[in-house]
Amino acid sequence: TRARLRDTYDKVNENFQTLFPTVFGGGKAYLELTDDNLLEAGVSVMACPPGKRNSTIHLLSGGEKTMTAIALIFSIFQLNPAPFCLLDEADAALDDANVLRFCKLIKTMAEKTQFIFISHNKLAIEMAEHLLGVTMHEPGVSRLVSVDIQEAIDLAGNE
């Protein structure tokens, strides 16, 4: 299992080093082992958004952390890409510039993978090809409603 873990670590690290600059529009990131013995070691996530100095993920801002985590999650996902992917408000902490980069990444991946995503953000909703409205007209009971793009934005609460 040591060889397998080594192989996974190397592949994820490679994916992460190419995906991070795509998601951030620049900068660099990588994984680092805290110890030479892989089976004992911890894995630190080092990330450096464009224009900033290097640091661990903990020194970044809320939005930068989210973007870094998204890049890492998709780096692991790409090891064995599933036919569909469910995302639950992955874009909550992001400003619009980052939401747009996030959408660009999802759209490229949607050529091979089906994405079903939950979002309150207008820009993310607009990227969808189909919308699924959920309401609770009767308190405590969920029902589906068909919505168009304008209704969806009202329903999700972005005015």
Binding site: L5, G42, T66, F84, A128, H130, L131, S142
Partner: protein, 168 residues
């Protein structure tokens, strides 16, 4: 292979039978806070074999069955069915020849879960086995719940290694 439909009945806040159609590769689920969006994701996790209440935001397994509202009484059972299009044969083994594959899970308050594959009763292991190698699974990186991103961000180096081991 892609997901064509999700059918829910009695599952969490979806007490009435509901069919979710998924006609394309980019589908956005929208609605106000508390209306039931994340419950759809829990339903997919559950039918794929998730057995830990913690991962289903509950305290016990029976918390997935509709337990009432101010106007409705609790119900005794819940069921979720996923219908996949398998024209490309990516779900391998003996099921490769089927153009459509359905997995279903039913739970009643007084007995265990029952699993069905294309309508025939099967074990939980059979469901888990079909997804082997496809990158799918109740704990795989294809289902990113509302807390997953916060968990990755706050993870200490030792915890991060465990995430990589799970993925290996």
């Amino acid at each position: 292979m892609y997901l064509k439909k999700i059918k829910l009945a009695g599952f969490k806040s979806f007490v009435d039978p509901t069919t979710v159609l998924l006609p394309s590769n980019l589908i956005s689920v929208v609605g106000p806070n508390g209306c039931g969006k994340s419950n759809i994701i829990d339903a997919v996790c559950w039918v794929m074999g998730e057995n830990s209440p913690k991962y289903l935001r509950g305290e016990s397994l029976a918390d997935v069955i509709f337990n009432g509202s101010t106007t409705r009484k609790p119900v005794g059972q819940c069921s979720v069915e996923l219908i996949f299009d398998n024209q490309d044969g990516s779900i391998g083994g003996e099921y490769a020849k089927y153009g459509e594959i359905s997995i279903k899970r039913i739970l009643t308050r007084d007995s265990d879960s029952a699993y069905y594959l294309n309508g025939t009763h099967c074990r939980r292991k059979d469901i888990v086995d079909i997804f082997l190698g496809t990158g799918l699974g109740s704990r795989s990186y294809s289902i990113i719940g509302q807390n997953m991103i916060a968990r990755i961000i706050e993870a200490k180096p030792d915890e991060m290694r465990v995430y990589l081991e799970e993925a290996a």
